[in-house]
């Protein structure tokens, strides 16, 4: 083996080992690398009330209710299987909409309502001019918004 080949082998072997170990670490900590839980994931995890967490999903249609003070809003976050009632007082991000992705940060109250202190809107990764969106809706080619907010969260067996 020439010196060049030896160096090449050392670099390739070192990198593969390092890459494999990083992959294992990431797989092990996978559940902690998640930015939010889906409503189903939250129930499966049985989080104690008073714990600060984030939940994410779609703002369920026709559930958004604005209080008279103009700042408090109530709605439901759904992942298609389970939904959770959320209340929030404050300014909503511009992308907040019914049928769109959302992440709420806050705590679960004992009565099962999620009291959010921060609301983040999630974009559906679709970009188009307003006219095109109108046209799609008119011709019935509209697929509902909603590349769901990330993929539904699947609990790793270890945590379950």
């Amino acid at each position: 083996m020439t010196r060049k080949q030896r160096r090449l082998l050392a670099v390739v072997a070192g990198l593969s080992l390092f890459g494999a170990s990083v992959a294992m670490v990431l797989a092990a900590f996978s559940s902690d690398l998640v930015f939010f839980y889906s409503p189903s994931g939250l129930i499966a995890r049985d989080i104690a009330p008073g714990h600060r967490i984030r939940i994410g999903g779609i703002v369920e249609r026709h559930t958004v209710v604005r209080e008279d003070d103009g700042k408090t809003v109530a709605f439901r976050i759904t992942d298609g299987k389970t939904n959770i009632a959320v209340t929030y007082t404050g300014i909503l991000p511009d992308l907040f909409r019914e049928g769109q992705g959302v992440v709420a940060e806050g705590e679960l109250l004992p009565d099962g309502i999620f009291a959010a202190s921060t609301i983040l809107a999630k974009h559906d990764a679709k970009y188009m001019p307003p006219e095109v969106a109108e046209e799609l809706k008119k011709t019935g080619h509209w697929t509902e918004g909603s590349v769901p907010a990330g993929r539904p969260y699947v609990m790793p067996a270890a945590v379950r």
Partner: protein, 264 residues
């Protein structure tokens, strides 16, 4: 590949790059100008994001360049480590500040986009965090390369860091698929058709091409400058040797031999 090895000779590289330089510079400026006008004036607003979607035309191309530049540095570092080619080190070191710049633009423009749309300047989700790690990798690489008095040792340490850091690239790319993130998944570089209207995709691709040309121009400029400096350094050493002056205290004897070899 034969063309690459031909260009890998420093003297030949200097000649070829001096012809390419003005063309690349002019082309980069022209394409970016077209992309700017297209993106800021002619591209339509988004059905949900309104005019704020125009931030995409700097955010996305700079994100692509932040990752491509790192890949470029890693490949050059691998070549430098295995084949010990002097131009490979110079190329990697020339690209680092440029890549760091693109990463900074990506982070800043993303923050300015996230505030009105998501409702937050910054969140610690897997995508944003891994891009911040990329930025620190760039800074670490630059610091490491310059931390040694002996240039070859600095270059070797930097190359190792650059290669190790390459695991971060797939993490950035697939973070939005592997974990729940606030950042949305890919719209262009995905399996299946892009989820972005053509009237927005075209100016985006023009800007991406412009940023690529800009990267090429900047890297060539910096490589040439670094080569000029090394040659000047060798000439000075040669001048001192010829005049019978004692060697510079900092210069190891190897450098004198290298200096004579460079001038031969």
């Amino acid at each position: 590949m034969p063309m690459l090895t031909r260009l890998a000779n420093p003297a030949r590289f200097m000649r070829a790059s001096s012809t390419a330089l003005p063309w690349l510079g002019a082309l980069a400026t022209g394409v970016i100008a077209v992309g700017l006008v297209w993106g800021l004036v002619f591209a339509p607003p988004d059905y949900q994001q309104g005019e704020s979607v125009r931030i995409m035309f700097v955010h996305v191309p700079s994100a692509w360049m932040a990752m491509s530049a790192y890949l470029f540095i890693a490949v050059a570092s691998g070549v430098a480590l295995v084949w010990r080619h002097p131009l490979a080190d110079i190329a990697a070191q020339a690209a680092a500040p440029v890549g760091a710049g693109f990463t900074a633009v990506c982070l800043a423009s993303g923050s300015l986009w996230g505030r009105p749309m998501w409702g937050a300047w910054w969140v610690w989700d897997a995508r944003l965090t891994s891009v911040l790690v990329l930025f620190f990798l760039y800074l670490g690489y630059i610091a490491l390369v310059n931390a040694f008095d002996d240039r070859t040792r600095g270059a070797r340490a930097g190359s190792l860091l650059a290669l190790v850091g390459v695991v971060n690239l797939p993490i950035i790319k697939f973070s939005v698929d592997w974990w729940n993130t606030l950042h949305q998944p890919a719209s262009v570089l995905r399996l299946g058709a892009p989820t972005i209207a053509l009237s927005m995709l075209l100016p985006l691709l023009v800007m991406a091409l412009g940023f690529m040309l800009l990267f090429g121009w900047l890297v060539l400029l910096r490589m040439r400058a670094a080569l000029n400096e090394r040659k000047a350094h060798a000439l000075r050493l040669y001048g001192q040797l010829a005049a019978g002056e004692p060697r510079l205290p900092m210069a190891p004897p190897v450098a004198d031999v290298a200096a004579r070899a460079a001038l031969r």
